[in-house]
Symmetry: C2
Subunit: 148 residues, 2 copies
C-alpha cells in the first residue's frame, strides 16, 4: 500500500528484496552507462584480481531504487537528492541483495502545504550481511489529505 | 587519453557531451529501475502537469557517468562515493544534455602508495543552460608511475 507523508514512521527499519545479481545484468547495465572494463570485461576483471566483473555503483543505486518503488511505495512528488553515497563492497555475480530502509527525518514542505520532505537511510546488503552500499535519499512526499 | 593521478589538474572545467535524451530512453531506464508513473506513463505525466515523462534522477546520474567514462577517461581503481546529489530541474524528452566536470581535490591514498583519491564536481546542463543535476564524485585513481 502506498505510504503518504502522514503514514511515514521514523526509525522503523524494513528489509526489502531480494534482488539476484547476475553477471549478465552487471555487464548490460555497465555497457550502457558505466563502460569500465572492471564492470564489462570478465577477462580484465579476472586479471585485476577481482575474479569476476563487479557491478557499477550506479547499478547498485538503481537496484535500491527499484526495490523501494516496488516493495515500499510512497506517494513521491519528486526526488530531491542523495547524500553520503558510499560504495563499501563489490556487488558480484550471484549475489543475493537486500535493502534496509529507515525514515530518519520528516518535515512540512515550506513551498507546498500539501506535501512534506522526508529523508531515508538506505543500506544494501549481500547474502553475507556485508554492507555493499549506503546512502541517504530525500524526497517530497504527498499528504494523504491534500486539501484538509 | 586516459588521465592518471598525476595528470589531474584542479579547478579546470571541461564540458562533455552532448547526450540527446529521448522519451523512449526515459521510459526504458525507468521501466527497469525506477518505475514511477511520472517516468514511465506519458498519460500520467500529462495529467500531472509535466506535459511529458521526466527522467529518473538515477538515469541522469548514469548519463553523467557514461559521458565521463567515454569522454574524460581516468585510470579509475574504484569509485568510493557521491555527495550532495541534487536533482534541480527535470530532464525531458528532446533535451540536449552536457556535463561540466571540475576536479576539486586530490590527495595521496593512505592505503595504496600507487594511487590517489580525487573528487570532482559535476553539473549536468540542458540546452537552456539550466542545471538539471549537480553532485560531487570521489574515486581512487591510479598513478601513471605505479612503482616509482
Amino acid at each position: 500500500m502506498t505510504e503518504y507523508y502522514e503514514d511515514i514512521a521514523l526509525h522503523q527499519r524494513r528489509r526489502l528484496g531480494p534482488h539476484l545479481l547476475t553477471g549478465k545484468e552487471i555487464r548490460d547495465f555497465a555497457g550502457s552507462w558505466d563502460p569500465l572494463p572492471l564492470h564489462t570485461d570478465p577477462g580484465y576483471a579476472e586479471s585485476s584480481g577481482q575474479g569476476a566483473v563487479i557491478a557499477s555503483g550506479f547499478h547498485l543505486l538503481a537496484i535500491c531504487q527499484k526495490l523501494m518503488i516496488e516493495q515500499n511505495p510512497m506517494a513521491v512528488v519528486i526526488g530531491l537528492g542523495l547524500d553520503e553515497v558510499r560504495f563499501l563492497a563489490p556487488g558480484r555475480p550471484g549475489d543475493r541483495l537486500t535493502v534496509e530502509i529507515e525514515a530518519i527525518s520528516k518535515r512540512q514542505s515550506r513551498s507546498r502545504p500539501e506535501a512534506g520532505i522526508v529523508s531515508h537511510s538506505l543500506r544494501l546488503f549481500n547474502q553475507n550481511e556485508e554492507v555493499v552500499l549506503s546512502y541517504k535519499g530525500t524526497g517530497m512526499i504527498a499528504k494523504r489529505n491534500r486539501w484538509e
